[in-house]
Amino acid sequence: MSEYLLEVKNLCKTFPIKGGLFGREVGAVNAVNNVSFKIKKGETLGLVGESGCGKTTLGRSILRLIEPTSGEILFNGKNIVNYSAAEMRAVRRKMQIIFQDPYASLNPRMTIGDILAEPMEIHGLHSEKTARRNRLLELLNQVQLPADALNKYPHEFSGGQRQRICIARALAVEPEFIVCDEPVSALDVSVQAQVVNLLMDLQKDLGLTFLFIAHDLKVVEYISNRVAVMYLGNMVEVAESSELYGHSKHPYTKALFSAIPHASTEGRAGRIILEGDIPSPMNPPPGCHFNPRCWNATDKCRESFPPLTNQSETHQYRCYNPIN
């Protein structure tokens, strides 16, 4: 068995655009375009990019909550793309997801106990009554919520506490891999830090593997071992997180880091402010998709799509004119 828990190969997801009176297909959006990556057991891969770059689609495609159009997803060495619904259900016990909005992702009519017990019921775990209750209490303890939370409803909790409940729900079936889709972006900074610490502790204690999706580079850089940067459906750079911050090769990565406001008053030199908006994925610019906003763009960039270049074993980028 390989050391990689998850391997994604050439994953694509295309959404049709319907138009006209009869809803004919008039075009397609390449939301995720030929993305490949591997995640080691116990590792956190961060995934960053602006809104609309395909990070969430990618995260959901891996769990087949959205059916990928083509490509392979190897989980524990087995390709799960063609699994039937029943086979998939068994695999999903090992792969879970935490969503962005803790207000929308919990059923307001279910108690916390019911919410946490539902995944166990579906997978037939801890079916004996006392065992189930002990497991529920253990889960609450793991996410640092009081035991009396079991009989309460979601509206009785704050945003940070709800996100803890969502984390507990994901942990209920003892997964190996969790997709965290912007788990802290809806939270206040002081609470955000608590949840980030909790995720990192759980990873250490339970040996979890994370795909951590966020648009906040500071949080991603902090929590991840490696970070992948997406732009318009393509992975444009991937590297160890410390390497990516100091020695990014792709101009887009550089600009993303430079755009983050720093909470210190010491002036910074050489801030890069990108011109223009992210182009529409329905109609991406020819060549490198980043060329209209790039200050290093040459004719070559406007003509052909740059291939993935190896900087080192762990650092790849797609750019003809990388930054030195």
Binding site: V189, A193, S242, F257, I260, P261, A263, S264, I273
Partner: protein, 332 residues
């Protein structure tokens, strides 16, 4: 050179009546806004930042809310208990506001040109239709929208989030206000677009000389754009100073805690950093505030004094000029 004070807020209290009793969403807030300067108001959700802004604009929904006491002086004129007709002349004209959600604060059934012209028509009725349209195009050009002559006839759905926020700024600035209140203007935007919008606001401030109140929860944004900062917690200002002093010598444990809970990049030390420092617990409910300092249950340097024996801590001068802090045990 000290610049002109254009807005003075004094002991402002805003109350809301609810089924569970009356709460003070803003409780004794004081600050000044200077011409050509930016004041940052920072705090977590529910700390009263937005309510303070709405009170200045005279937009507190009444009932259930009301300005219970305190004063708001704009260029020497009191804005509390002002005639509605009088306030309408100031709102949008002399004091303008941009909101957090560029997606929902524009009317989807009017072109952006119409929406800019509406403001101009209201406050500068002497202009003709043609002049108004020309002015709308100028405003769009000012905020950096490409080909404004064409864009002026487009609808909000045809624009991206960043472009819509530019339109909001164009509407706010079309009457050249003395004060711009920006309530989380970049929170809904991506970092690269955020950088563009903040840069634009700085540039326009230099050109038009307005005072800005920037409301945000992002300390990074404050550090890069504001001249002075007020930190709010549970409806009160707990610390206020110029931006350098605040970031270099925070004295309130809450301010310090906020700064520590942001992961920083300057990790030259190599791999995995220590745990993030957090502020324990949660913001208390306004219905159930503790006796004494509101921050006591989450504070690391709490003492008996903070639990109410000496009343609530009030803003007192701290070390450094213009630096005030509401804490019995300020950090040294």
């Amino acid at each position: 050179m000290t610049s002109e004070k254009i807005l003075v807020v004094k002991d402002l209290v805003v109350e809301f009546k609810t089924d569970r009793g009356t709460i003070k969403a803003v409780n004794g807030v004081n600050f000044d806004v200077f011409k050509g300067k930016t004041l940052g108001v920072v705090g977590e959700s529910g700390s009263g930042k937005s309510v303070t802004a709405l009170a200045i604009m005279g937009l507190i929904p009444n009932p259930p809310g009301r300005v219970a006491s305190g004063q708001i002086h704009f260029n020497g004129k009191s804005l509390v208990n002002i005639e509605p007709a009088e306030m309408r002349k100031i709102r949008g004209n002399k004091i303008a506001m941009i909101f957090q959600e560029p997606m929902t604060s524009l009317n989807p059934v009017f072109t952006i040109g119409n929406q800019i012209e509406e403001v101009i028509e209201l406050h500068q009725p002497h202009l003709s239709n043609v002049e108004r349209r020309a002015k709308a195009v100028d405003m769009l050009r000012l905020v950096g929208i490409p080909s404004p002559e064409k864009r002026v006839a487009e609808y909000p759905h045809q624009l991206s989030g960043g472009m819509r926020q530019r339109v909001m700024i164009a509407i706010a600035l079309s009457c050249e206000p003395d004060i711009l209140i920006a309530d989380e203007p970049t929170t809904a935007l991506d970092v690269t677009i955020q950088a563009q919008i903040l840069e634009l606001m700085k540039k326009l401030q230099k050109e038009l000389g307005m005072g800005i109140i920037l409301i945000t929860h992002d300390l990074g944004v404050v550090a890069e754009t504001c001249d002075s900062v007020a930190v709010m917690y549970c409806g009160q200002i707990v610390e206020s100073a110029d931006v350098k002093t605040l970031f270099n010598h925070p004295q309130h444990p809450y301010t310090k805690g906020l700064m520590n809970s942001i992961p920083s990049f300057d990790s030259t030390s190599g791999h995995k950093k220590e745990r993030l420092q957090t502020i324990e617990g949660m913001v208390p409910s306004l219905f159930d505030l503790p006796v004494g300092c509101n921050f006591q249950d989450r504070c690391s340097s709490v003492t008996e004094k903070c639990r109410g024996s000496q009343g609530e801590p009030t803003l007192m001068p701290a070390k450094g000029e213009g630096h005030t802090v509401a804490c019995f045990n300020p950090l040294s």
